[in-house]
Amino acid sequence: MCCRVCKSAVQWSLTSWTSLPLGRPFPPRIFPTLGWSHRTAKNSDPASKRRYMLPKHLRRLEAESIEIMRDVVAEFERPVMLYSIGKDSSVMLHIAIKAFYPAKLPFPLLHVDTTWKFREMISFRDATAKRLGLDLIVHINKEGIARGINPIDSGSALHTQVMKTDALKQALDLHGFDAAFGGARRDEEKSRAKERILSFRSAGHVWDPRNQRPELWSLFNTRIRQGETMRVFAMSNWTELDVWEYIMLEKIPVVPLYFAKQRPTVRRNGAMIMVDDKRLPLNCGETPEMRMIRFRTLGCYPLSGAIESDAMAIEDIVAEMQTATLSERQGRLIDVDEAASMEKKKREGYF
């Protein structure tokens, strides 16, 4: 039965069916499941076992990301990897090392530092760069610093615009990077769900969501003109759960802030903010309270909301994820201004 079906699939090939009259009698069969297992069942390579430590869906995602990265390195003059220190960056970096092994990473890493990141993030960043021998560029928008832009007095919108978006554009221009890898995923947010893997930016880093290049199969259009750039989202098809499962199975180091611990916190606009240093002004009568918290996403500490959690190991985080009722972006104070605020920021050049 099964083999007959397989054969008929081949017979009804591209060349034959278009010339067929519609409605030609064909036994109307329903095949709810096909037993093709005889084709794929046997895999007796004993030495390939390591590879099979990962579940199939993660292997597929990993291979897909590797393919994208290799394509970009082969086609662009000056690629760079944006390194935000978070879990997605950690996974992206891990995959990049796999993609180009045994060669060293054929591109530098770029961290856009707003100067308001958690202290533990910065020490993790520097330790990682040292451990892996990475070429790490840290860029700070000096103009923004000179103007005294900060997340507390300037507000999250202006701070993000100047210290993240503008800073990123400055750094890309300064070094003449023509392709920038980012760890953003389509499951994060609605407008990201529509983003291409190779996302074209016209000169000035502008994204035009209504005029994106169609992206079929894994055939990427890498052609750009002088001054134009490409953002490359090699992990577009990963989900938050995939990322954590992968971190767990591949034993990838991540910033300790993802794990629950007693930390000093205050409540602000319904979010729990960690008092990471003395720059966070306390309201009259407000004293930081120690709470068992962790973070699902990391950014500038005054803008990152923590969650109360007991998850102290990766296994706990994955288990917690499977029963989570809130999205990971809930903690991000910069997204909630308006429904399409991410789309707006992205048009302007935000990652």
């Binding site: 329903i30 709810p32 291979a63 809130l326 399409a340």
Partner: protein, 627 residues
């Protein structure tokens, strides 16, 4: 504190991913279905639901209910207009499978978006409104899915609640669809009566359609067995990138497109016909004994043979097609229509080749599947075409291999992706005489002459001074007892290329022939000096690819057009001005200056003698003249 055992969090090793597409028009409830799947499989978080409730009041069309469509229509314009414009990708997971859904618009004017979504999918959910039955759009969606190689279909008969869960109605629609879809090559078609709005048979069984005993939608998606890879097919390994961290390691990085291979197996480079054996299959996690479809690996070979990005490795007894003419289905995706004869950049696997459509055999009406005559192809139109490429492409028919049988068209000027193609078959059956590797190789021939062969390619406007400088270089090399050959545009056009004119296609062919001749001469050990206007960057790059990066030296003879017109050594510029010559480079035909030539000669700043010396200096620095 209670810590759960680690095993609970580890996903089963057999957990895989299914990528599917949903097809349906605005009113069929496509976005509602996806919203329902996400919601009922608990993939929508509370905060997203809060935003959704707020947006439902603002834009929604579901009365007081939550409008799930707003969850997937992510762009501002889409929410305002209440339609899906672009492809959106959504994700959800169950313990058995993780799912990626391409949500695409169903209108005819978005055929390209649907094709894009379908190119990533293994299965299609085709929605039908139970009140309306099989419609024109159902045929269109099914046709496109079939064309893009989807072999598994779920026929979701939606809004079954609005026909009072009527069994006859469902059966009639299913029968009608099966009869229609018989010729589309689907291997499984599963009709399911559902109500996306109320959730019947989506995740949970319907309490109303008790007569239905088949699987619920999610249950079916979780259990359908779709051969995930193409591991059982012929081995194909498109080389993406050459990994050369040090002189001792030369690996070819890529993802196995189909089949499997083991260390020690014999392979052939499809385009050159060179054979060797697999030495190692390298990964960061250690060497593998074997690799199969979907594995991203780095392969090293027993012999050092010339392989670069775009090459495809296969087994000698089961090779892909190598041809510069093939028939293909083409979907046009750009506002500017496809014009036969016009050159585009084609991306076929990791190969980038200039090519054009030589003939449109017929256009296909997506609604009726009728064949129509067509002189050109507009946005969203599909046709069966003959394609010609400037150099042979390596491929398989699309219905045998989606990875090596697909390609895209890129406009050379706007760089937009303007079309997509699926190869049906080669038009020149040159497979029988697959290329034979010659036994005396070029290195040996060059060694006899005591030199390293190369191609020195002078490009620049007419009258820029190319031939003058090329002649001087030739003389200098002769004086140094080097074996050279000078190829000149004017000379070749009197003989080998006498049949060619100055149309774009002829100019492409002109350079192609010159490139082939130059390569043959370089293979015989000569230093080949070429002097051609060669206005197109693509053509020059193609010769570079043909000859090999290390042996191609592009010399840009940079003279402003005003100066060329003033010199006018052949009186051509004055003929252009009087209208006797058309398509003249620099005047009414564009010259694409090299962006990174190996040598850049500014003739306004130095004499031809100095320029020629500069070229010889570079040859010396590259140790081409070392005996």
């Amino acid at each position: 504190m209670f810590v759960k055992p680690a095993t609970e969090a580890v996903p089963a090793r057999t957990k895989d991913q299914l990528r599917f597409i949903t097809c349906g028009s605005v009113d069929d409830g496509k976005s509602t279905l996806i919203g329902r799947l996400l919601h009922d499989s608990k993939m929508i978080y509370h905060d997203q639901l809060t935003v959704l409730e707020r947006d439902s009041i603002k834009h929604g069309s579901a009365g007081n209910d939550i409008d799930f469509a707003l969850l997937v229509d992510g762009l501002e314009a889409e929410r305002e207009q209440g339609i899906t414009i672009d492809v959106a990708y959504r994700f959800f997971t169950t313990p058995r499978r993780s799912f990626m859904v391409a949500d695409t618009p169903g209108h005819e004017q978005y055929t390209r978006n649907m094709a894009t979504g379908a190119s990533h999918a293994q299965l299609a959910i085709i929605l039908i409104d139970a009140r309306k039955g099989v419609m024109v759009q159902t045929r269109r969606h099914s046709f496109i899915c079939s064309l893009l190689g989807i072999r598994h279909v779920v026929l979701a008969v939606n809004k079954i609640d609005l026909v009072a869960y009527n069994k006859e109605c469902f059966d009639r629609i299913a029968r009608g669809y099966l009869a229609f879809a018989a010729g589309l090559g689907f291997t499984s078609i599963v009709p399911i009566p559902i109500s996306a709005r109320y959730g019947d048979n989506v995740v949970d069984r319907s309490a109303h359609a008790t007569w239905y005993d088949g699987p619920c939608l999610l249950e079916h998606l979780e259990s359908i067995d779709i051969p995930s890879g193409t591991a059982g097919q012929a081995f194909r390994f498109p080389v993406q990138w050459v990994n050369r961290p040090n002189p001792d390691f030369r690996g070819y990085a890529g993802t196995v497109a189909s089949g499997r291979i083991s260390a020690g197996d014999e392979i052939v480079v499809a385009a050159s016909g060179r054979t060797t054996r697999i030495k190692r299959i390298v990964t960061h996690d250690g060497d593998l004994v074997g690799a199969e479809a979907g594995d991203a690996v780095t392969i090293t070979l027993e012999d050092e043979i010339d392989i670069g990005r775009g090459d495809i490795l296969s087994r000698p007894d089961d090779r892909p097609k190598v041809a510069d003419r093939f028939a293909a289905y083409v979907i046009w995706m750009d506002k500017e229509p496809l014009a036969p004869g016009r050159n585009y950049v084609l991306r076929i696997g990791s190969q980038t080749i200039t090519g054009s459509i030589t003939a449109i055999r017929h256009r296909i009406d997506v609604n009726t599947c009728e064949h129509l005559a067509a002189a050109m192809l507009s946005l969203n139109e599909i046709a069966f075409c003959d394609v010609a490429t400037a150099m042979p492409a390596v491929f398989d028919p699309y219905d045998l291999n989606r990875k090596t049988g697909s390609f895209i068209f890129i406009d050379r000027y706007t760089n937009r992706t303007v079309g997509a193609g699926m190869i049906a078959f080669p038009l020149r059956r040159d497979n029988k005489n697959a290329r034979q590797a010659l036994s005396v190789d070029r290195r040996e021939r060059a060694a006899l002459k005591n030199q390293k062969p190369c191609v020195i390619w002078f490009t620049g406007l007419s009258g820029a001074g190319k031939t003058t400088i090329a002649n001087l270089v030739d003389q200098k090399l002769c004086g140094m007892s080097r074996h050279t050959m000078l190829l000149d545009g004017d000379n070749l056009r009197h003989g080998l290329n006498a049949d060619l004119g100055f149309s774009e296609a002829d100019r492409v062919e002109n350079i192609r022939r010159v490139g082939e001749v130059a390569k043959l001469m370089a293979d015989s050990g000569l230093i080949v000096i070429c002097s051609f206007i060669s206005p197109s960057r693509d053509e020059r790059d193609r010769v570079r690819g043909l000859v090999g990066k290390e042996e191609f030296i592009e010399v840009f003879v940079d003279t402003p057009i005003e100066e060329c017109a003033r010199r006018d050594p052949k009186g051509l510029y004055s003929k252009v001005k009087s209208g006797q010559i058309k398509n003249f480079t620099g005047m009414d035909s564009c010259y694409e200056a090299p962006t990174a030539p190996e040598i850049h000669l500014r003739t306004m700043e130095q004499t031809p003698e100095h320029s020629a010396e500069a070229v010889v200096d570079v040859l010396m620095a590259r140790s081409i003249l070392d005996g």
